[in-house]
Each structure stands twice: as structure tokens, then as C-alpha cells.
């Protein structure tokens, strides 16, 4: 299966007054047509920088970003223009990401105007059909964002992202700001739209249960690196990286009396991305870390005959884990 979207060896560091932030540090990933790739990790792991790289709001320091085999990583403003419609984005905060002074119709029409699509009449028709698709009444096009609830605003953001019929939508925490009952509505909507239009999603979230529900494959990111890749079921049933195990153990299950095992972490606090640890970046928190983990960075290796990939010195190619609690 040829990839629709691919990142290889992507690096992005940010200069700040306090030093160099290693936001993304050598990431390889690919997304097939129609696939949902979930990306999980804690705050500061670089997942939002990865999203901004994917839509090419920012340019990588190193590595390639390819769309259908075309390298878009260093294209200039004009050269990237024809590619932009194919990758769109949905943001976490439906309050901040919509222009409060523009009507909803205008917000959804904006990408069509920018990319010079259709006549005004055709665009109006397109806006009405998009609003209908995302479950908003087309009559509401003349109203303004503040007249809508959080869930409805997220629908507006989704309609805007759909306007140019993209191949890939980067969803950056799209349901994190929503209430439980509305969250289910928006998750189902995203799922229906994908089934109908066949696009792909890069679905970024800190909420593992949401990612597990929507994604076909899941990538786990830690301090700028992917530490584990697996299809949704295997990640949940057989997490191999100690970090993934700690993340899953931390999710409070909505089951009363579910007694939780202690979280397998030596130190709770993640290190600063300003000074990521040498060797395996997780070694400072890992209960299984050995000497080698402080020196050598483990590579992301595939397990034999599986799509499952893990970056840990103590997981062998047959998926056998040789993790032992260190003293």
C-alpha cells in the first residue's frame, strides 16, 4: 500500500531564550489513504509541533515530508500553494480558531475564496451542502460563532476543513475541549465523514481512550520521538514500550472498583524538552532502565511479521520483553 503522506527523519528544534527546544527529533511515519493514524503523548512531547509540520505551517530543520511522493518539506509560499488544499486542519479550541467577526458562512467559504474555487453562487451552494454534512442548519450561515455552543463551533471548524475536499485532515485534540455527550457526537461525525469521503486523519490527542476508538494505528510519542507504533488493538492488548505501559496504566477506567496497579514510573515528572536525556529519552522515568539506556538511543524496530514497532533495548524482534525492574 503506497502512503498518501510520509514523514522521514523529520527534525524541528526551536530557539528560545532558555535554550534549544527539541520539539521533534527524527520522526518517521506514514499514513495510507483512508487511514486514521492516532498520535498520543503528554504535553511537551512534540505532538502539536508535528501537526504544524504536517500542514507545513512550519518548515522542518531536517528530513522529508511527502504528499503522494512529492517532497513538500521545503517548498516556498508559492510552490506549496497548490498542495495546501490537500492537507487541512481541525483545532482543539473551537473558540480561538474561528474569526469572531466573520459569519459562519463566510468562515466556511474562506478557503474556497483563498484558493479561487467556483463562482460566488457555487460557493454559497457548497457552503450550504457542507453545513448540512456536518449537521448544521444551512440557514445558520448568517450567524456568528459566539451564537453557537462548543460542539457546534467544532462542527463549523470541520466544515471549513472539508471545504477544499482534502486528502488528509490533521485533527489536533479535536474533542478535548468538548463535553462528554457532545464529544461522542463529534467523534461519530468525523468517523462518518471519513467513511463517506475516504480521506485520512492524523488524529492527535492526549486521551488514549478516544484515540483507541478512532484510530486504525497508533503512534506513541515521547520527547520528540516515536517510541511505539501499533494497530489499535495490539497497542491496547500488548503495549511493549515501558512508556506506553505507564500511559495505559494511568488512564482511569470508567469502571467502579477497578483497582489499579501502581503506575510503572520511577519519576512522574517528564524531563524538559530543553534538555532531553541522553540515550533513551525515557530512561530517567523508566523502572527497567539499565546502563545501556543512558548511553545508546534505541531505534524503532519492527517485530517479526508484524506492523508493531518498538524503540526499546529490552524488547526483542519476536516481541519478547526482557524488561526487569532495575534496582
Amino acid at each position: 500500500m503506497s502512503a498518501l503522506f510520509r514523514m522521514s527523519g523529520v527534525v524541528k528544534h526551536f530557539k528560545t531564550p532558555r535554550g534549544l527546544v527539541h520539539a521533534v527529533d527524527g520522526v518517521d511515519l506514514s499514513i495510507a489513504r483512508g487511514e486514521v493514524l492516532g498520535l498520543v503523548g503528554e504535553s511537551g512531547c512534540g505532538k502539536s509541533s508535528l501537526a504544524r509540520l504536517a500542514v507545513r505551517i512550519i518548515e522542518p530543520d531536517e528530513g522529508r515530508i511527502e504528499l503522494d511522493g512529492v517532497d513538500i518539506s521545503h517548498l516556498g509560499q508559492n510552490e506549496i500553494r497548490p498542495h495546501r488544499p490537500r492537507i487541512q486542519m481541525i483545532f482543539q479550541d473551537p473558540f480561538a480558531s474561528l474569526n469572531p467577526r466573520a459569519s459562519v458562512g463566510r468562515i466556511i467559504e474562506e478557503p474556497l475564496i483563498v484558493h479561487d474555487r467556483g463562482t460566488p453562487a457555487e460557493r454559497r451552494e457548497r457552503v450550504a451542502s457542507l453545513m448540512d454534512k456536518v449537521g448544521l442548519r444551512p440557514e445558520a450561515a448568517a450567524r456568528y460563532p459566539h451564537e453557537f455552543s462548543g460542539g457546534q463551533r467544532q462542527r463549523i471548524g470541520i466544515a471549513r476543513a472539508l471545504a477544499l475536499s482534502p486528502d488528509l485532515i490533521i485533527c489536533d485534540e479535536p474533542v478535548s475541549a468538548l463535553d462528554v455527550s457532545v464529544r461522542a457526537q463529534v467523534i461519530n461525525l468525523l468517523d462518518r465523514l471519513r467513511a463517506e469521503f475516504g480521506m485520512s486523519y492524523l488524529f492527535i490527542s492526549h486521551d488514549l481512550s478516544v484515540v483507541e476508538h478512532v484510530a486504525d494505528r497508533i503512534a506513541v510519542m515521547y520527547l520528540g520521538k516515536i517510541v511505539e507504533f501499533a494497530d489499535r488493538r495490539s497497542l491496547w492488548r500488548r503495549p511493549l514500550h515501558p512508556y506506553t505501559q505507564a500511559l495505559l496504566a494511568s488512564v482511569p477506567a470508567p469502571i467502579a472498583g477497578a483497582k489499579r496497579a501502581p503506575i510503572p514510573l520511577r519519576v512522574v515528572e517528564p524531563p524538559s524538552p530543553l534538555a532531553p536525556p541522553k540515550g533513551c529519552r525515557f530512561h530517567t522515568r523508566c523502572p527497567y532502565a539499565r546502563d545501556i539506556c543512558q548511553i545508546e538511543t534505541p531505534e524503532l524496530k519492527s517485530l517479526q511479521g508484524e506492523t508493531h514497532q518498538v524503540a526499546c533495548h529490552f524488547v526483542s524482534a519476536d516481541g519478547e520483553s526482557r524488561l526487569q525492574a532495575s534496582a
Partner: protein
């Protein structure tokens, strides 16, 4: 006697749209040493309930217009502001979602905790500082002597929340009110803070009123659960009873809409759509005439539009506000 007994609490907001009933006849109790979760979606009145108990709502626009808040046998709503200050931060501790709302960025952690102690207890500055160090140890912040000299911005989100918990515990409260205490934290940090709160509760014997929208947190941390919807209590039950057999259609809908890893999958390996609660939470300015959940309820009957059912106590001890439920709480 319950430690906290909230009776028919009513708090309104004066707005341009009129007087909005944010908390409309809410009653519940907390026994000493018990953790009760107050659960609901944004705008349901859970945080306003907490702020009303603590009398921290800015007036205007908010005003508590009815009910009683009996705490250790005294109605907090009848106290003067000076007496209330002796309760707040002493007998009742508070922590909020964003630790920086409780911390002064210009004072060190040590100064803030000692100030909280000196405010309520006649001890020397040195004794207060010593106690602050003990509290920092108690909330498992490593390197207490260094952290006491730090300013809040130098600490991570998780460490700040621990410092706020230390402050809230400074005068041995009988009740801790925690409003979304882990919502802003990463999942690994959240797990540690919940574990810490549970451990502190056991050791200090305090009760906790936990306000949250996260049903996973509820299942893990609470013994009893009060579910709110549009300013009203719709259901109350022990945590096991609630998760194993939710009665109110709203509670059932909420629990049903959570993604769970054990769902069946289709031939493409994908789980079926999540069960949804249709529609939106009603605006307080335009509440439905009868049951506030009726417009979204798939079990609603015409009589649901005629009266807003109060939460009544069932023989099992659970409470439920649904006119279509029988004595056992089964929906007809």
C-alpha cells in the same frame, strides 16, 4: 449528623437575559471521611454549587437566594464574612483546576503556605515554616527545603498542584473541595495526584467533594456520585451501583458515550459508532417546561413536559429524578 448537608441550594445569575437559575434546588450530603463526586457537563451548575458552599461567587452577577449549607452543624449561608473566613481555608480546604489561580506568582511556595497557616492558627513564624516543610513532604514533593524557596513558575504543573494541595491541607480541614483538580494535568500526573488525594484522605480522615466531568476519575476516586443536569440533581448513588446500573436516562447516556477499548469491531476492525445523547444542553435562559432532560431523552413521554421531577429517594437509598421510574428505579 452529616459533615456537610446541602439543602435545597438555589443560586442565580443576574444577566441581561434575566435571572438565570444556575443551581436550582440542589441537595446532597457528605459524611466525615467520605469522597463524593459532583458530576456533570459544563453549565450544569457543579462548580457554582461548590462556589456557593464556599461563598466565593462574585455578587453581582451570582447570588445564592435560597437553601442551607449546614457544615459541622452551622449554616454557612448565615455566617458573617469574618466568620466565613475562619471556615474557608481552615475547616474547608479548596483546590481548583488551574493551580496558578490559587498561587501568588510573586511569593515563594514557603511564604504562601506559612501565610495560610498564620492566617488561621496562633503559632510562631518558625513553627509555621517547619509545618510548611512537613506539608511539602506530605504531598510528596521531593527536596522540600529547596521547593519552599521557589516561586510557582519554577515548578511543573503537577508540582504546583501538589503545592496547592499542601496549602489546602495546612490547617487540617475536615472537608476538601476539589474542583476539577486534575483536568489540566497529563494522564500520568493525574494518576499520581488522585493516588495522593486518596492516600491523604485515608491518613487525615478528611472528606472530599470532588467536582469533575471525567467519569474515569469518578470511578476511581469517589464513593458516592451526584449527577447534575441543567442546575438540578438527577441521580445519586454509590459509585458501584451507579456504574453497574445507572438509572436516569441522562446518566445512562453519559456512561454509554464513553469510548471503551473492549467494544466489538466490524469487518474492517473498527468499533461501531459511540451511542450519542441527541441534541444540546438547554440554555438556562430557555429551560424546557417540564423535565430539563426531556427534549433529549429517548424515553420521554408527554407527561415529562408537564412537571420537573424532584430527586426522590428510592427504597434502595439511591436518589432519582425521573417520573417514568418505578419504586425500584426501573424505567417504565
Amino acid at each position: 449528623m452529616a459533615l456537610l448537608d446541602v439543602r435545597n441550594l438555589r443560586t442565580v445569575f443576574m444577566t441581561r437575559q434575566g435571572v438565570l437559575p444556575a443551581v436550582d434546588g440542589v441537595s446532597f450530603r457528605i459524611e466525615a471521611g467520605e469522597t463524593v463526586a459532583l458530576v456533570g457537563e459544563s453549565g450544569c451548575g457543579k462548580s457554582v454549587t461548590a462556589a456557593s458552599i464556599l461563598r466565593l461567587l462574585p455578587d453581582p452577577p451570582g447570588r445564592t437566594v435560597g437553601g442551607e449549607v449546614m457544615f459541622e452543624g452551622v449554616d454557612l449561608l448565615a455566617l458573617g464574612e469574618r466568620e466565613m473566613r475562619q471556615v474557608r481555608g481552615a475547616r474547608i480546604g479548596m483546590i481548583f483546576q488551574e493551580p496558578m489561580t490559587s498561587l501568588n506568582p510573586l511569593l515563594t511556595i514557603g511564604d504562601q503556605i506559612t501565610e495560610a497557616i498564620l492566617e488561621h492558627e496562633p503559632v510562631t513564624k518558625a513553627a509555621a515554616l517547619k509545618r510548611a516543610g512537613d506539608l511539602i513532604d506530605l504531598v510528596r514533593i521531593p527536596d522540600a527545603s529547596r521547593v519552599l524557596r521557589e516561586y510557582p513558575h519554577r515548578l511543573s504543573g503537577g508540582m504546583r498542584q501538589r503545592a496547592v494541595i499542601a496549602m489546602a491541607l495546612s490547617c487540617n480541614p475536615a472537608l476538601l473541595i476539589a474542583d476539577e483538580p486534575t483536568t489540566a494535568l497529563d494522564v500520568t500526573t493525574q494518576a499520581q495526584i488522585l493516588e495522593l488525594l486518596d492516600d491523604l484522605k485515608q491518613r487525615l480522615g478528611m472528606a472530599i467533594l470532588l467536582i469533575t466531568h471525567d467519569l474515569g476519575v469518578v470511578a476511581q476516586a469517589a464513593q458516592r456520585v451526584v449527577i447534575m443536569y441543567a442546575g438540578r440533581v438527577v441521580e445519586e448513588a454509590g459509585v458501584t451501583e451507579l456504574f453497574e446500573g445507572p438509572l436516569h436516562p441522562y446518566t445512562r447516556g453519559l456512561l454509554g458515550s464513553i469510548p471503551r477499548p473492549d467494544r466489538e469491531v466490524d469487518e474492517h476492525g473498527r468499533p461501531p459508532p459511540l451511542p450519542e445523547i441527541a441534541g444540546l444542553v438547554p440554555s438556562l435562559a430557555a429551560l424546557p417546561p417540564g423535565c430539563r432532560f426531556a427534549p433529549r431523552c429517548h424515553l420521554a413521554t408527554p407527561s415529562c413536559d408537564l412537571q420537573d421531577p424532584p430527586a426522590i429517594t428510592l427504597p434502595s437509598g439511591r436518589r432519582l429524578a425521573c417520573i417514568n421510574a418505578d419504586q425500584m428505579g426501573s424505567l417504565t
